[in-house]
Symmetry: C2
């Protein structure tokens, strides 16, 4: 985990029995650390998003939603590395070909939006967004082409819109959602996306520590 990961994420991971290896994002990358550990211990790497099984697994979020609601005119999905988004797009289109799937990124970390609209992979280094789950440097080798093929559009939201969505989820839905997980709702609430018929939103991720939640509730 990067040394700026939410404290609660680290504490919860350790409480579930894991050994956490910390690294400094400005000095090295997760991938380098993981390669070293693999070589040393014969570990098997489970990539966070750029793997067919991971993409399929994350897509079950949309699959379960569509199984329940049958049809959707629009589905809004947060986008970091693109695993959740591409998996959900494949699942949603498979269940309802007319469902328009839109990926949502923070404006401060809009590499995927730029990549989607230009057809060329853009990268970004440690973008300063509050949505720490989207601080991935770029889409993956698998997720980028899947996005181009299955996603209908990409939109970005402001930091304020993300905070407003986290607050709404806290006060009205009684849910603890991390900023990255609230991107879809942020797009709807801020008017970035115009709702059309029945709209689904994937809300995913509750790794938020007290300091971050307090900053948002006080904002």
């Amino acid at each position: 985990m990067p040394n700026d990961a939410p404290q609660t994420k680290r504490a919860a991971t350790e409480a579930y029995g894991a050994r956490v290896v910390e690294y400094a994002p400005e000095e090295t990358t997760r991938e380098e650390i993981a390669s070293e550990l693999q070589a040393e211990h014969d570990y098997i790497l489970i990539p966070p998003f750029d793997h067919a099984d991971v993409i399929a697994g994350q897509g079950t979020a949309a699959l379960e939603l569509l199984e329940e609601v049958k049809t959707l005119n629009m589905l809004l999905v947060p986008c970091g590395g693109g695993g959740l988004l591409s998996g959900c797009a494949i699942a949603a289109k498979g269940m309802d070909a007319h469902c328009r799937v839109i990926g949502i990124e923070p404006a401060l970390a809009d590499d995927a939006t730029k990549s989607f609209h230009s057809g060329t992979l853009h990268t970004v280094t440690n973008p300063p967004t509050i949505a720490d789950g989207t601080r991935t440097s770029s889409l993956g080798e698998l997720t980028f082409p899947l996005l181009l093929q299955h996603v209908d559009d990409m939109k970005t939201v402001s930091e304020d819109a993300i905070k407003d969505a986290v607050k709404f989820l806290f006060y009205r839905m009684k849910l603890v959602v991390e900023p990255s997980g609230a991107l879809g709702l942020a797009a709807l609430m801020s008017g970035t996306v115009t709702p059309n018929g029945k709209v689904g939103i994937i809300i995913s991720g509750g790794n938020i520590d007290a300091a971050m939640m307090i900053e948002i509730l006080n904002s």
Copy 2:
């Protein structure tokens, strides 16, 4: 609403279209204010807990749980005025006669526990517990006899145990729960109640404002 009600409770109530009438708990009571408004405007009073329909409605929380899990060895239910507790006890016993129903109160507001164990109605005035939903002065005319008839035991929990439960719900269940709503979990986590077989917990109430949640997360 008392003038010390959570700000978010008031804001949400107004946003849903209600007109909120504020009162000072040290000067008058909700009941007096409501009587005046009834006389003046011909309003119909919906009591917060001491009415058969309200008790039955609150009991659907346990009914739905038992419909899903079929049997329970133990059910833990928060207790303020006793509406949720008596309703849940009736519903749980109706679904599974062997389910042991235990009401949980803050130790600082233990009027119902004293009433239950002594058979005589105890009252308490503005108890200083963090669990503001249990600051009712006593059980009601209906809920007190129903508790004696259908509830198996009453237990109390400390303020620290309540805070720990709210924190656990925030960090691990990703739920925003007010202190009163977390009483059942507080009893289980603090060892006040010894789990026996399959234990159900009614978690009810998310009226918590930023200041209170921040105080609890920082505790």
